[in-house]
């Protein structure tokens, strides 16, 4: 789809404009010209062949003498259709053909050649295929003027603009609306196309009756053109359609496309003799079948609009015609339709049937009723001129369009205060006139009437202000900062915790990853930790991305294992992301997941390393939870209800104030043979547990007393139980308990372990005496011995 400037020139005079500068001007005003294509080729002339001889040294080359107007040139040519008298396209010395092929004087097998006789495909104006190749050099008509520019003669001489339009201005894909933009940029006036024609003294109502039975049509017009002669289109129509990327069929079909590309109003031509004298526009019946012109049976729904003969559907409105009702070589009389349908229905139907065409795309947007009426008249004008049609008098119309013009008041003050510019009143006058908007002025207030062709403009002053701004130029905006109350911005709600956690865990050596939220259904079953109902997409693009994840771990573990495969040994990664599940409402939680493998600390040449293990993971979790202020409020303990991907004996569930917030552990050997530890924490749940402010506590200035003791207990007793017991017996004066050794082995029973504790006693009001410390210490020992059937291990 491109805009032909030859065509635009019919409506606004741009002959003398530099086409690149013009493109920039229009682009600056918001109609984005993406590419300027010129098919002018210098040093091409029309020549006439005066003499043809065989090349002395070849069985297929000819040596021709060609009159190019001011001289006669000898040119060697290989085409079989060269003959004396033929008018041809000659590329003279210096011409540059597509593919950067420069024509030079040369000798072809010893014979001098001063140019090249061309075929259109060699000029890039036709596709090169077997058919065009077989035709040889292009034969020009006898009236072609020797010595003139052949492209201009053929109507190929044109500059095309390829546009990249904003979705509200797709009307500019059509030449007349585009011309209005050109006129606005150049401050010129638009000349409207000729819509005049002679009318037969017959009443169109005698030819056709119209019944519109749905509210989804706001305007429907019919006219009748009789006795058309189907033939090839005139050159200019063919060229212009080609430029726009539409294939030429015949004069009648081409005219309907031509008018569409002029006004943006799609037309539909019926073969009047096939459709009869009655048109009923209605919604399709459910499951109604129509055979469209591509021969396919289409099943319709009650959302589709059809044009029928009262009974049988003839056409899916705006989308595709029926098989037998369209224009053929045999068509004599035409019923012309120019209508405005409900854009939503057209959109729905064309998407559902997979039939989006230039016509349906235009009908999906609001259309101007003024253009709807002009377009049908323009079609009559062209049919009369180029298809010898006789137009029946009158128009059959159904019309529910609200024709109240949109009128907007806008003050000069508000224009400048919203744009942050300083535009003068005369400049606003000029812009409104260039845009073709009518207005009246009272004081500094403009009352602007929006032309019906600008369906994109909404009834509010901001829309007018945008029009003025874009034409005046946004380069004229003076950058300022808002004059409003100063304040400091802050992270709100979840964001704050996320940022804190992110920074902390990064400082612990973790790198952040980001993985997809959408995963496969199979993946959603992994790391199932009290999962709810999985959210599935209605129409996923891929099976691998069809569900919303409830855990980050499936993706994070993939990344870990990927790195292992890549021999990236030390991997410490984390991700913070929202996860979702479905209850009565959709539930969103912010999760933190991290994983570790390899060595936390290492030096390869002196065998120093700290390989990851459960206790490193535990230390990281504790560090994080302490940092967040949950010291003494969380417990970490072995759980048998963790996901199956986690080692059943090397794991821990995390609870804060007795509520589960997540877990960590080693990956199950079925998932990975490597030592990989992972953790996932629900940050949204953590946020539920408030923490207090930091308060300074004076340090104890009295000496502390340390006592060591080692207990031998059964292996299966968790150290936390002993710790709790010691704490209970020790009371207030016992301020710290450290495990400094854990031993299993030869020197004690096989099913026993020894745990050594360093106990610290202190009081911040006085110095403790040895006696009172020993009293507590002995009580602790006795309690532990009794409670765990333990023995004290001798040193």
């Amino acid at each position: 789809m491109a805009i032909s400037l030859n065509w635009v020139n019919d409506y606004v005079d741009i002959k003398n404009e530099d086409k690149k500068t013009l493109a920039q001007k229009i682009t600056d005003a918001g109609i984005n010209v993406e590419k300027v294509i010129s098919n002018n080729i210098a040093n091409l002339v029309i020549g006439q062949i005066e003499k043809v001889e065989m090349h002395p040294d070849s069985d297929h080359l000819h040596v021709c003498l060609v009159n190019v107007g001011d001289k006669t040139l000898q040119i060697v040519c290989g085409a079989s259709n060269v003959r004396v008298g033929l008018k041809v396209i000659v590329a003279l010395e210096g011409a540059v053909l597509p593919g950067d092929f420069t024509i030079k004087k040369s000798k072809i097998r010893g014979v001098e050649s001063n140019g090249m006789i061309c075929a259109l495909f060699e000029l890039g104006l036709e596709e090169k295929n077997d058919e065009t190749y077989a035709k040889g050099i292009t034969e020009l008509p006898d009236d072609a003027p020797v010595g003139e520019d052949p492209l201009e003669y053929l109507g190929y001489n044109d500059t095309l603009y390829e546009l990249d339009l904003n979705p509200n201005r797709t009307d500019c894909n059509n030449h007349l609306p585009f011309a209005y933009e050109v006129a606005a940029a150049l401050n010129k006036k638009v000349t409207m196309p000729d819509v005049s024609f002679k009318e037969l003294d017959e009443d169109v109502n005698n030819y056709v009756s119209l019944d519109v039975k749905t509210d989804n049509v706001s305007m429907y017009n019919l006219m009748v053109a009789k006795d058309v002669v189907i033939k090839e289109s005139p050159n200019f129509i063919k060229r212009r359609l080609e430029a726009a990327g539409v294939r030429s069929i015949n004069n009648v079909v081409d005219i309907s496309n031509y008018v569409m590309l002029e006004y943006g109003q799609p037309l539909h031509f019926f073969d009047k003799d096939v459709v009869g004298d009655k048109i009923v526009v209605r919604m399709a019946h459910d499951k109604e079948i129509i055979k469209t012109l591509d021969g396919v049976d289409r099943e319709l729904t009650t959302e589709d609009i059809v044009i029928s003969d009262g009974d049988t559907p003839l056409c899916v409105a705006g989308v595709m015609g029926g098989l037998n009702s369209g224009i053929t070589e045999a068509t004599k009389n035409i019923l012309i339709e120019s209508a405005i349908f409900n854009p939503y229905n057209i959109r729905y139907t064309s998407i559902r049937l997979g039939l989006r065409s230039e016509a349906s795309l235009r009908l999906e947007k609001p259309l101007s009723y003024e253009f709807t009426l002009l377009a049908i008249k323009r079609a009559c004008h062209l049919l009369e001129k180029y298809a010898d049609a006789k137009i029946v008098k009158g128009i059959v119309t159904y019309d529910k369009v609200d024709k109240t013009p949109k009128v907007v008041d806008v003050s000069l003050e508000s224009i400048n205060s919203i744009l942050g510019m300083n535009i003068k009143s005369e400049e606003v006058d000029n812009i409104l006139e260039a845009l073709g908007f009518t207005y009246t002025k009272k004081g500094d207030v403009y009352t602007v009437t929006i032309p019906n062709r600008r369906q994109d403009i909404y009834n509010q002053k901001e829309d007018i202000i945008e029009e003025i701004g874009r034409i005046y130029g946004y380069d004229n905006i003076e950058p300022t900062l808002p004059l409003i109350k100063t304040k400091k911005g802050e992270y709100r709600d979840n964001v704050k915790l996320r940022k804190i956690v992110s920074k902390k865990i990064r400082s612990l050596g973790f790198s952040e990853i980001r993985t997809y939220t959408l995963i496969s259904e199979e993946e959603t079953t992994k790391y199932d930790y009290h999962f709810g109902k999985t959210i599935k997409l209605l129409r996923p693009m891929l099976k691998e991305k069809s569900c919303v994840r409830q855990s980050i771990l499936p993706s994070l573990v993939n990344v870990l294992l990927y790195n292992k495969e890549k021999k990236n040994n030390d991997v410490f990664i984390y991700e913070i992301s929202n996860v979702y599940h479905e209850e009565e409402e959709y539930v969103e939680n912010s999760h933190l997941a991290f994983g570790i493998s390899g060595e936390y600390l290492n030096n390869t040449w002196n065998s120093l390393s700290y390989k990851v293990d459960f206790y490193l993971m535990k230390g990281i979790v504790e560090n994080l939870l302490n940092y967040l202020g949950y010291n003494n409020r969380y417990t970490l303990s072995l759980s048998d209800s963790l996901p199956k991907e986690i080692h059943p004996k090397i794991n821990s569930e995390i609870t804060i104030d007795g509520k589960n917030v997540g877990y960590f552990g080693k990956l199950h050997p079925k998932v990975s043979k490597e030592d990989v530890y992972v953790c996932e924490i629900d940050l949204s749940e953590i946020l539920e547990h408030k923490t207090g402010d930091v308060k300074y506590q004076e340090l104890n200035k009295y000496p502390k007393v340390e006592k060591d003791v080692a207990f031998v207990v059964n292996k299966d007793i968790p150290s936390i139980d002993i710790l709790k017991a010691i704490k209970k017996s020790g009371g207030k004066l016992l301020t710290d308990i450290k495990i400094f050794d854990v031993y299993t082995g030869d020197r004690i029973d096989e099913n026993k372990k020894s745990i050594a504790y360093k106990l610290t006693f202190e009081d911040n009001t006085r110095t403790l005496t040895e006696e009172e410390v020993m009293e507590i210490f002995n009580k602790i020992i006795l309690d532990v011995l009794e409670k765990f059937k333990a023995t004290v291990r001798d040193k």
Binding site: I484, S502, G509
Partner: protein
């Protein structure tokens, strides 16, 4: 005669101290001269034989001798200790050119880096950072933003729906703006940014991703101008791409803003001359923006006769691709090779 004794010891010591003395010899000398029966100590007992008028002088000389010995002794002792330390240091020499111990250093994902730098700039300008759900209502993602059902502009954002046409994965972060305005109830001025994940039905390729990150900003207050938006954008552009960047606005279209603009920066690679990064134009589009459409203000409870404001939006991946020279958007989401992540473990100033 007594004085001769002193002189004798004096010259004896001088000779000894000029020779080499080790730790052991030094301690021996101390005993030999200053010990209980040391040569200097015993001089004190000679004083009774000294005539009265010379006693004072003799005493002084003995003291002098003691001081000389002690000074010398301390001096040598210190030197010997110094030698000892130096020897030890010498023996402790290591090869400092061997590699240091690896300490892990964490890093923010490139997307997070861009977000954090935008946040810190905009928070200093008074914007709060807020978030909203990714599973969102059509009402907030589209309808209240002047994109009613069937609106052609919805085409550009082919959306993942979850339930009927009611719930979807948000195709933009704009619904956060809607939620914020509804919360403000038409009474409170608003200054927020909302970075977050968004979803569209795009085939993944070098420049498209079905999941990507947006950061939108919304300012609703009184007497705000397009110039204020431009000034704000200039701050952002300079923070991200350097002080030398110039900016421009081009007319554009978004249903939720009027007027709407594209925000361009002069190409940081060619400085506006034209290169393949800016496709020969000298300009790079980095985001979209505009004045909040009065329809949207009204939909969200703000009276457009009293309030106005602007909204802007950036694709964070696009900014990261431009800033770091990444050519494939999938780098941000797939197969995170830790070696790639490590490229982002340092600060920039």
């Amino acid at each position: 005669m007594h004085n001769e004794k002193i002189k004798e010891i004096e010259s004896e010591l001088k000779r000894i101290f000029e020779g080499s003395i080790d730790q052991k010899r030094l301690e021996e000398l101390k005993v030999e001269y200053m010990g209980k029966n040391g040569k200097i100590t015993v001089l004190n007992s000679l004083i009774k034989d000294v005539p009265n008028e010379e006693k004072k002088e003799f005493g002084m000389k003995v003291n002098e001798l003691k001081n000389t010995f002690n000074t010398k002794y301390e001096e040598i002792k210190e030197r010997l200790e110094e030698d000892l330390i130096n020897e030890k240091l010498e023996s402790e020499a290591i090869d400092v050119t061997l590699p240091g111990t690896n300490i892990l250093s964490g890093s923010a994902h490139p997307i997070e880096r861009i977000i954090e730098s935008l946040e810190s700039l905009l928070m200093s300008m008074g914007y709060d950072v807020v978030e909203g759900p990714e599973v969102e209502k059509d009402l907030y993602n589209f309808e209240l933003l002047n994109l009613p059902k069937g609106h052609p502009a919805r085409d550009a954002q082919d959306t993942f729906y979850i339930k009927g046409d009611e719930y979807l994965l948000r195709s933009q972060t704009s619904p956060v703006q809607v939620r914020e305005m509804l919360k403000g109830e038409g009474k409170e001025p608003i200054r927020i940014i909302c970075p977050g994940k968004t979803y569209r039905r795009d085939e993944d390729d070098a420049t498209h991703s079905h999941e990507f990150t947006q950061m939108e900003g919304l300012l609703v207050d009184k007497n705000i101008t397009l110039g204020d938006l431009k000034g704000t954008f200039e701050e952002i552009a300079k923070m991200l791409f350097g002080k030398g960047r110039s900016t421009r606005f081009r007319p554009s279209y978004y249903p939720f803003t009027e007027p709407s603009v594209e925000m361009d920066i002069s190409c940081f690679n060619c400085n506006g001359k034209g290169c393949n990064i800016c496709k020969g134009t000298g300009w790079i589009t980095v985001g979209g923006a505009g004045m909040v459409n009065p329809i949207v203000l009204r939909n969200c409870g703000y009276d457009p006769d009293k309030w106005n404001g602007f909204a802007f939006g950036f694709g964070i991946e696009r900014l990261a691709m431009l800033k770091y020279g990444v050519e494939d958007i999938r780098v941000f989401y797939m197969n995170h090779d830790v070696r790639m992540l490590k490229e982002f473990d340092r600060r920039e100033y």
